[in-house]
């Protein structure tokens, strides 16, 4: 018996992958909300390390970095703060804390509140996926960053998130895409290719002229040369030539 993979299955796989990851982020978010619920919380009150470590060392979750990024002024002893862990080495993973500069006068300081993985969930109050993009600040790698806002008593206190290297995502997704006809591409809401089973289209390329706004609005756009299946409620589509 042959299992026929369809574009809908690809979209389902991507949506499931993201939802699994966001469910883990829900746990992280609940812990963070708990940690900062007390009066004048400090850095030492954050207890995210074990959760992040288990996520980073779980071989079933291809996560390269995970943690929380605080809204300015939430912590009593640091105006800006990243509580973020990264993993290095695939066979023997080593987890280390990201040494980010949080002194606003220092050379390496970066105002993260302007970056899309922070600003978008802050503005929309919803989950966000940034990328694929070259993360030249941190990993120097081609990355997807999954983030979601955390609120305490209606007040935004920061974001929790996880980095997935595009290469890892691709490696897993290509198995799903294998043998699918016609070839299928996964693109983000800008038309940027995450993964493709068509050798003519590669990761990072932009597919121009896609009716992305119509697709996001739920319109099939039957006049377009591409047929799209949205990955559930995510800003991603599995697409193939009509």
């Amino acid at each position: 018996m042959t299992v026929v993979t369809r574009q809908e299955d690809v979209a389902r796989w991507v949506a499931d992958f993201a939802h699994d990851l966001f469910e883990r982020l829900d746990v992280l978010a609940a812990r963070l909300a708990d940690d900062v619920s007390r009066d004048a919380p400090r850095r030492a009150d954050l207890r995210l390390e074990q959760l992040c470590r288990s996520m980073l060392t779980d071989p079933t979750v291809p996560v390269a970095g995970a943690g929380a990024v605080m809204a300015p002024g939430v912590l009593a002893d640091a105006p800006y703060w990243l509580e973020w862990w990264v993993v290095d080495g695939a066979s023997r993973p080593t987890v280390s804390k990201l040494a980010a500069e949080t002194d606003t006068r220092a050379i390496g300081f970066r105002d993260y509140t302007e970056l899309p993985w922070y600003s978008r969930p802050f503005e929309s109050g919803e989950r966000h996926i940034t990328g694929p993009y070259v993360d030249y600040v941190c990993t120097d790698q081609y990355t997807l960053t999954f983030t979601q806002p955390v609120h305490v008593a209606g007040e935004f206190v920061g974001i929790v998130g996880a980095d997935v290297l595009v290469a890892w995502f691709e490696e897993h997704l290509l198995e799903v895409l294998d043998g699918i006809e016609p070839p299928c591409l996964v693109v983000n809401a800008s038309g940027r290719i995450v993964t493709s089973s068509d050798p003519a289209w590669v990761t990072g390329d932009l597919v121009r002229g896609l009716p992305l706004a119509r697709w996001l609005a739920g319109d099939d756009a039957p006049d377009a040369p591409w047929r799209a299946t949205r990955c559930d409620d995510l800003p991603f589509f599995a697409i193939s030539r009509r």
Binding site: A99, E101, D103, R105, A106, I107, G108, F109, R110, D111, E114, L115, P116, P132, Y133, V134, Y136, V137, D140, Q141, Y142, S190, G191, R192, G204, D205, L206, R208
Partner: protein, 255 residues
């Protein structure tokens, strides 16, 4: 995005681990050169001693020794107490002396080779950026191209140059080209840009960035590449002019 934060990429390399021998001297040299060339801007606070030691992979006492040497050379000032730390003090000449000293030891052949390398990287980045930029990328690129350095800020022009070219590489969606761009900026960036500024090229640089950005926005890879290559060639023309002066004065000094 707050723009002072953008150059963290190349800055990170300033703080990368060091080889074993002569470590205090190596720390002094790397930080001293970065300050002299304007890569670390005036008034910026260096990371704390322990943090620096971690980043360089040396002992805290080694860092302390290096900071002492930098203090004596008047390249940093250290303030104690709350809000204290070591702060960068850019040389009054904006790094000119350090740049000329470095130039005088470069051969014309080395310069030409460096120009070939940087032209290839910049041109290809611009080409790919024109193919691959989305709306958000273009917004960032246009904003960087439109920025002007404050006239009293010694590291201003190199930083804007560095930011623009780094962003161009990132917009090309290539992690490898981005890392290569960072390495080239580390080796040659301040030299190029200060030489160009010396030749009165600050306005030309801004115009060149805007021309590159508009070719990228127009989705015209060939034009974007040609403009980026022309821009890098102009930078190297300035360096060659300055190189003649630097070599000339060195020769005259020798009896």
């Amino acid at each position: 995005m707050v723009d002072r934060s953008l150059p963290l990429g190349p800055y990170a390399a300033v703080f990368a681990p060091l080889p074993a021998e002569g470590r205090a001297e190596a720390v002094t040299r790397r930080l001293g050169e970065a300050i002299a060339l304007g890569l670390l801007p005036d008034g910026c606070m260096l990371p704390h001693e322990g943090d620096l030691a971690d980043r360089f992979g040396v002992a805290t006492v080694t860092v302390r020794e290096a900071l002492g040497a930098l203090r004596e050379a008047d390249l940093i000032v250290t303030r104690r107490g709350r809000g204290g730390g070591s702060f960068v003090r850019s040389p009054a000449d904006g790094g000119r002396a350090a740049m000329l000293a470095r130039l005088a030891h470069l051969g014309l052949g080395d310069l030409r080779d460096l120009a070939d390398h940087y032209t290839a990287i910049s041109g290809r980045c611009a080409y790919l950026a024109a193919e691959r930029a989305d709306e958000d990328d273009l917004t960032r690129l246009h904003r960087l191209a439109a920025q002007r350095a404050a006239p009293d800020e010694p590291g201003g022009i190199p930083r804007l140059e560095g930011n623009f070219h780094l962003e161009l590489a990132a917009v090309a969606q290539s992690a490898r080209l981005t890392r290569e761009e960072m390495a080239l900026q580390r080796q040659a960036g301040p030299l190029l840009w200060l030489a160009h500024a010396e030749a009165g090229g600050a306005a030309a640089t801004t115009a060149a960035h805007e021309r590159i950005a508009s070719a990228v926005a127009g989705g015209d890879p060939g034009t974007a590449r040609a403009r980026a290559e022309d821009h890098v060639s102009e930078l190297f023309d300035s360096v060659r002019t300055l190189h003649r002066h630097a070599r000339g004065s060195r020769t005259r000094r020798t009896p």
